[in-house]
């Protein structure tokens, strides 16, 4: 420890020795404070302080994301070999290896580009690097399709950090969730790449060109590869709303994507979002440590469930008839509920507001997803809308408190 401490002390000394290098102080400070809780002491006021700090808070969210990340790695490899029809001959470690080869570069690019921007702003503004991006940097790769080009991830991350966060004043000041800003940016800037059936399974477009085509035309196609392997479950569902659905009815859908598979996550989708189980493990950790708000998570779930049930009752097509609980296991609903909607900065800040905010997010998410099949990823848009409405919800809650106080003044 002493050795490490000396390195940092010397680095600080070197930087401070000249005016020119002084502004690079955040560079060393970021790593210093990562390794050591600094020796800052309280002044007046509360002389003792709680042991919690923002680093620990953020780190716990990252730890909660690890199950999703690990499963995402596995599922990326799994989907790849499923499309190839080689699952039987491939070992577990080959699946992991393939998945890691795809997912880890996404993580590296996301952190690399995001932290690069953060450091530039920290140096320019002369403040220390705040921890907000630690979580965003992990969320971004997990909400990306597996086959997204790395340069797009970099561009989206830089856009999200600069426009989504730094222009508002940095961590704690942003209006929209940073990771979702990155996702929405790609969705709207590169629609052809970010939707359709090809981006969700890594290597799919290559396969389709050569091997896939030959497989489909071979004598026994179903046994090796099924007909629409690249599409997400939501893509298949959305086709119920069009003239030529991929599957004939809800039962066929449920046969293809069973509730158990959807829950466990062995379906195509964004890297980290497919497994409801892993999201729930993360949720359990976040709720156990009190980091995420149970108010948001529970009301978000209820909101989604209510909307899905309403559409169940409406019925009329294969999409609407899918049972509500199965609906909620698909796409980014669980992932968005646990990790995106609970972002304390962009969620509502008041306790009563959190219920309304969460409900709104879940409710709108399912509504957008099901009624406008052009946007199967309705959750992302719904959370962004809820983010925008959060200050208004808070305003209403606080106004209510103010009115109560004014009323007391009048009656007194």
């Amino acid at each position: 420890m002493k050795f490490l401490r000396n390195i940092f002390d010397n680095a600080h000394k070197t930087l401070n020795s000249s005016e020119k290098t002084k502004k690079f102080f955040p560079l060393v400070d970021a790593f210093d404070t990562l390794m050591f809780t600094p020796n800052h002491v309280t002044k007046n006021g509360s002389h003792v302080r709680d042991a919690i700090d923002l680093k620990r808070t953020m780190m716990l969210v990252i730890i909660a994301l690890i199950p999703c990340l690990l499963f995402g790695i596995y599922n990326t490899g799994y989907q790849h070999y499923r499309v190839l029809g080689e699952l039987e001959v491939i070992s577990f470690w080959e699946i992991i290896f393939k998945g890691a080869l795809v997912v880890l570069p996404l993580v590296v690019v996301s952190y690399g580009s995001g932290l690069f921007v953060e450091f530039i702003f920290a140096i320019k503004n002369g403040h220390t690097v705040q921890e907000g991006f630690l979580v965003s940097g992990m969320l971004i790769p997990l909400c990306m399709p597996a086959d997204v080009p790395l340069w797009m991830v970099a561009v989206a991350t830089i856009f999200a950090v600069v426009i989504g966060k730094e222009v508002f004043g940095g961590t704690g000041m942003n209006i929209l969730n940073v990771a979702l800003t990155a996702r929405a940016f790609l969705f709207f800037a590169h629609p052809t790449k970010m939707s359709g059936n090809e981006v969700w399974v890594t290597g799919f477009s290559d396969i389709k060109g050569e091997k896939y085509a030959s497989l489909v035309s071979s004598a026994n196609p179903e046994g090796v590869v099924d007909g629409s392997s690249g599409a997400t479950a939501l893509g298949d569902l959305a086709s119920f709303m069009q003239d030529s659905p991929v599957l004939e009815n809800t039962q066929a859908f449920q046969a293809k994507y069973s509730l158990m598979d959807s829950f466990l996550g062995f379906i195509p989708g964004s890297v980290g979002e497919t497994s409801a189980l892993m999201c729930l493990i993360g949720a359990a950790l976040l709720l156990w440590t009190g980091i995420a708000s149970w108010r948001v998570i529970s009301s978000f779930f209820v909101g989604g469930f209510v909307m899905a049930t309403i559409l169940n009752l409406v019925g009329g097509n294969g999409y609407f008839e899918l049972p509500a609980i199965h609906q909620l296991m698909l796409g980014g609903f669980m992932f968005g509920m646990v990790f995106m909607a609970t972002d304390p900065v962009t969620a509502a800040h008041t306790n009563a507001g959190k219920f309304i905010y969460g409900f709104l997010g879940g409710f709108l998410g399912i509504l957008i997803r099901m009624v406008n099949p052009a946007y199967p990823e309705g959750i992302m848009l719904a959370i962004l809308i809820a983010n925008v409405f959060a200050p208004l919800i808070d305003h209403m809650v606080i106004q209510n408190n103010i009115n109560r106080r004014l009323k007391r003044l009048k009656t007194a």
Binding site: M1, L4, R5, T33, L34, M35, F36, T37, P38, N39, H40, V41, T42, K43, N44, G45, S46, H47, V48, R49, D50, A51, I52, D53, L54, K55, R56, T57, M59, L60, T128, Q130, E131, G132, G170, T171, G172, M173, W288, T289, G290, I291, S293, P344, V345, A347, H349, T350, N351, K354, D394, I398, N401, I402, R404, R405, L406, R408, L409, A412
Partner: protein, 450 residues
């Protein structure tokens, strides 16, 4: 009335004072510090070298010169210590050890009316013991408060136990209460706990309220909020129970007798206990013979709201305890004791440390390390858990930071004082100095609106 405070937090610190009252060393030097009184601009009434008696005026409020501050001892004015822009930091008095009184004739106060009593208390120098809410400053003589509050217990960490200190002091306490009753048309509210000493449970001329719950249930602000909340334009006064005794002694003897019992607590004190002392005593004299470890921070007052002091400083006017804590000026490696440690021996109100799984009786080591760095507001809903007011703390703080007076009023700034935010400041993940912000907000509101 029975009050149950649900939100809050009891901070379990090591070094709780033992219930022994030691004869403290008589201080040779005393001081009056204008900085003990928020918003006060003093006007000196003495020069260096003047001889003074107990109760002789030393300085007064520049803008309201009837409010005088008097010497707690007899002797000679030693030094007038000034800081930047010649601001007066302290007036020190070297005691002759005789405590000769300026005047000591007992009066029959029960015959005085309110105006006469006010004049008398102002002249005697006891007036500053009365403080008011809103703003949390010395009571203004021209006000008629709607009620007066006394909290018979202190729930701050390592705080003195008034049940113990004031046992068998009924005569003085009741005499003080009698005076307070003359000052208000409303009631004098005394908040007690279940097992309060009879000096409180049998107190006369008061409305007693039984209070239950964790800190800050002992703060008068919380009690006012529950019993008789302050609206814009209303004024409530409050006073510490030991200060009621000082009033009582004045009523009985006519003497300015600022004797009180304080406790010395904290992990860095060898045998934490209670000491007899006099208001304004030097810290050095109080700590004489008390063993203190190296690298300690001395705090006049409690660990949540007190004032950092050095040995050559003096006990604060409103303080009833001294706290000695280890200074936390060391780096902590992140895995072993720092931000990512398991932290079985670290105290946290958040569930991210295992504190909440530990037995409730466990006490913790605290030092003055910030345990992090100052950040923007990120985590929400954290203050609300320890803030038992029907007020939105974060929104109020933000309105203060942006100097939005109308919003401050609407969000309830008249009901709060910095000490009510002490726990918010303690639990804050972003390490924001909230008490300072609230003080600034109150000062602004006072200047603009009152």
């Amino acid at each position: 009335m029975k009050i149950t405070v649900k939100k809050g937090l009891d901070i379990k610190m090591k070094g709780v004072p033992n219930k022994i009252i030691a004869e403290g060393n008589l201080s040779k030097s005393f001081a009056l510090k204008p900085s003990d009184f928020p918003n006060l601009i003093p006007k000196l009434l003495v020069k260096e070298g003047d001889s003074v008696k107990c109760g002789s005026p030393i300085f007064c409020d520049k803008y309201n010169d009837v409010v005088v501050f008097v010497s707690p001892a007899s002797g000679v004015v030693d030094k007038i210590i000034r800081g930047e822009k010649r601001r007066i930091l302290a007036v020190t008095i070297t005691s002759d050890g005789k405590f000769t009184q300026q005047n000591s004739k007992a009066k029959d106060f029960s015959k005085l009316d309110r105006a006469e009593l006010k004049t008398d208390l102002l002249k005697s120098g006891l007036w500053p013991l009365l403080r008011m809410r809103p703003i949390d400053i010395i009571a203004r003589p021209e006000d008629n408060p709607k009620s007066i509050f006394i909290s018979s217990f202190d729930t701050n960490p390592l705080s003195p136990d008034y049940d113990f200190i004031m046992h068998n002091k009924s005569a003085e306490f009741n005499a003080g209460l009698e005076l307070l009753n003359i000052l208000t048309d409303g009631s004098v509210h005394l908040q007690i706990r279940k097992n309060s000493d009879e000096v409180f449970s049998n107190a006369k001329n008061v409305k007693t309220h039984l209070v239950k719950g964790p800190h800050p249930s002992g703060n008068v602000g919380v009690q006012m909020h529950e019993i008789d909340p302050i609206n814009k334009g209303e004024v409530v006064w409050y006073i510490n129970p030991q200060d009621v005794m000082i009033l009582g002694r004045y009523s009985l003897t006519g003497a300015y007798d600022a004797n009180k019992v304080i406790c010395i607590g904290g992990e860095n004190v060898n045998s934490p206990k209670y000491f007899k002392t006099i208001s304004g005593s030097s810290i050095e004299s109080i700590l004489e013979g008390v063993e203190i470890k190296e690298n300690s921070r001395l705090i006049s007052g409690n660990p949540l709201t007190g004032l950092k002091v050095e040995k050559d400083n003096f006990l604060g006017f409103y303080h009833h305890q001294l706290t000695v804590l280890p200074e936390g000026n060391e780096y902590k490696f992140f895995l072993s004791e720092g931000w990512l440690s398991l932290g079985f021996n670290r105290f946290s109100a958040s569930k991210s440390y295992p504190t909440w799984l530990m037995p409730k009786s466990k006490t913790y080591q605290f030092d003055t390390n910030l345990n992090g760095e100052e950040r923007s507001f990120v985590v929400s809903g954290q203050y609300e858990k320890v803030f038992p007011f029907d007020i939105y703390p974060v929104q109020l703080i933000k309105s203060i930071i942006t100097n939005d007076i109308e919003k401050m009023e609407n969000l309830g700034i008249y009901e709060v004082s910095p000490e009510d935010f002490a726990l918010c400041e303690f639990v804050c993940t972003s390490k924001i100095n909230i008490q300072e912000i609230v003080r600034n907000g109150l000062d602004l509101v006072y200047k603009e609106c009152m």
